[in-house]
Assembly symmetry: C2
Homo-oligomer: 380 residues x 2
């Protein structure tokens, strides 16, 4: 069975205030072309279909159009699970009315008790569904008090099934040891949010979503396909792709990656203002989404405005070294990759000259968790 694995489309995403719908549409056109070329038997999309609980109209239209092309024009079944950016109930709307057409949408854990079985010439392949959900939801639905964190919740979710024969798990989770990018929203603030790859041993293949960089574990049997496109500048060097996974009669797998070509690449350029202005041809296509790191030491005047005349999609500008008031050198790398908790702690330290107390940390985590939940439920 040939499985086309993709994840983290994030339709409706804003990037530095710019809607990426045209970029996403451009990539999904190629995705559709790939179907004709590669003739997969099934498509799996492992969560974060949309970027937010209330996606903009353009994102809804793009998904609607894409699903229609997949199901009606190409007649290929597709399994979709919700990620932490999707609202589970909204994503599931109409799902029971679309299964005849081969589109399977799984948002709520309560919809995922029964796996989906697809057949090929070698017999059945069973697809298990694990959309993103909080440990508390797993605890409530399975009535299993052991599901206290993401890791134990995954053990409970997987453990309830007798996994035999050729099997695939779709999961939107953070595997321990995985490489993060800047564009993933943390699953938990200040708590453990990873799961062990050991839980995934029973499956022929585990199609993961959440981490935006393509990467694999357990000898390739556990895999993040990576996001549809780059969603932050620290992904500039990544090569985004979708994966075709071939499962043979014995349940052995072979994987091939297919790169889609973005409408505009996302890149970082470095140089002095003069270099960037005078020799733009040295820096690749001018209308890519760019971040410029300026190497100038002294003052520069209206760098953004002048650079944008040359690079119309320059999104962000930073100085390699920026002198702070107290003379301390502060670099962007001091911020990138830090958790919200760490950043807030830094801020508190700068303001009060002392570390946050455990009580303060607890209050911060509580408030941040609440905001995170509200974002997903779309109540804010």
């Amino acid at each position: 069975m040939r499985i086309l694995h993709t994840a983290d489309w994030h339709l409706g995403r804003l990037f530095h205030g710019t809607h990426l719908t045209n970029d996403q549409s451009h990539l999904l056109d190629q995705f559709i072309d790939l179907l004709a070329d590669q003739k997969p038997d099934v498509i799996v999309l492992s969560g974060d279909v949309y970027d937010r609980a209330y996606p903009p109209v353009e994102a809804v239209e793009l998904l609607d159009e894409t699903l229609a092309r997949i199901a009606i024009d190409h007649n290929i079944p597709m399994l979709i699970i919700a990620g932490n950016h999707d609202n589970p109930s909204r994503l599931e709307f109409g799902s029971r009315l679309m299964t005849d057409r081969g589109i399977y949408l799984f948002g709520r854990l309560t919809s995922c008790d029964t796996p989906i079985v697809l057949q090929d010439a070698d017999g059945p392949v069973t697809f298990y569904l694990a959309p993103y959900c909080e440990p508390a939801e797993v605890r409530a639905h399975l009535q299993d008090d052991a599901a206290v964190c993401f890791d134990s919740a995954m053990r409970s979710l997987v453990g309830r099934h007798q996994v035999n024969g050729r099997s695939v798990l779709l999961s939107h989770s953070f595997v321990h040891g995985g490489s993060v990018s800047d564009s993933e929203r943390p699953l938990s603030i200040g708590g453990a949010d990873t799961v062990s790859a050991d839980h995934f041993l029973p499956f022929s293949y585990v199609a993961l979503g959440h981490l935006h960089q393509p990467q694999s574990f357990n000898g390739g049997r556990v895999r993040y396909s990576g996001s549809l496109m780059k969603y932050s500048f620290n992904e500039a060097a990544q090569r985004k792709s979708v994966s075709i996974v071939e499962i043979d009669a014995a349940g052995e797998i072979q994987t091939e990656e297919f790169q889609l070509t973005p409408r505009r690449d996302m890149r970082v350029i470095r140089g002095t203002l003069e270099e960037l202005l005078q020799r733009p041809d040295d820096y690749g296509p001018r209308d890519d989404y760019l971040m410029a790191t300026l190497l100038d030491e002294g003052a520069v005047y209206d760098a953004m405005g002048r650079l944008r005349d040359v690079y119309p999609n320059l999104m962000h500008l930073e100085r390699a070294a920026q002198l702070e008031g107290d003379g301390e050198i502060r670099r962007a790398s001091d911020i990138v990759g830090k958790s919200d908790l760490d950043l807030f702690n830094d801020f508190m330290q700068a303001m009060t000259s002392s570390e946050m107390t455990p009580e303060q940390t607890e209050v911060f985590v509580e408030v941040a968790e609440e905001i995170r939940r509200e974002e997903r439920e779309g109540t804010s």
Copy 2:
């Protein structure tokens, strides 16, 4: 052909801060029961499925569940058009994937060029679709400059079809001379928003939505089924229903109304505070949604709090006559039924002692129109 006509469900509506989902769900259960009893060949829902562009999760779940019961459990086709409260693109999501199951969702005008033809023993019945849309959209889509107002837009929309044989039009519009309720959102601020019933002469039956009171025109061939339930206290005396319309082989119609029983009725009670507190049994079921008109002349203390001990769902309280600062008697009836423009004009007059100038009126209409559009597009 037996057509079950309903409209204006307004799923997700808030009533004085209270979610009506349980009430709507209670009525839709009866609606489903009616399908088994009356065995309609098709259901038509003439707009305002949801109450707003971004409906709450509970409303999405209720519609999802209801459509699944209609299509899967009862296997009855259903045609749905968008009303002025629905977002056209969001409502249409997945529509092409649901038609195999007999669910037809029409939001955007561009999706409505081709009518739907259903068959019964007497031959075909053609269903034309006219979801709510602004005259400007009609002008753009039909490239017809004559569509300058709602009335001329309807003439253009209907005029493009050669209507022959048995035919039904679904439309969400305001027929000239129709009786309004307090719970409809105006289609236009300060402009003409009605359409002539004459445009509807070519059809065997016109299934309308928008006005919440059941009512008919053209000898019953043009009909508002009315809303699913009462959505304002000025509808207290209305009898809400859904209609079964039987079209015979010759295109003649017979209509029967079916009343659904609300979980809680919406009623107005009148009396002095003492009467209402002492003799609640005289005023019907205590847990209905109630508005109380107090007949007391003098001061009363904490009327709302005391009445709520007896009538837990008392939503609103008013005094029959309320003395204003200047001694002028001001009644609620001075406000009810007035347009936003009239109310604002009253306010300006009270503040400035002069009528609004034409320029001021224009500014008000412009701003109010913008707010109205944003509400529908869900951008605010």
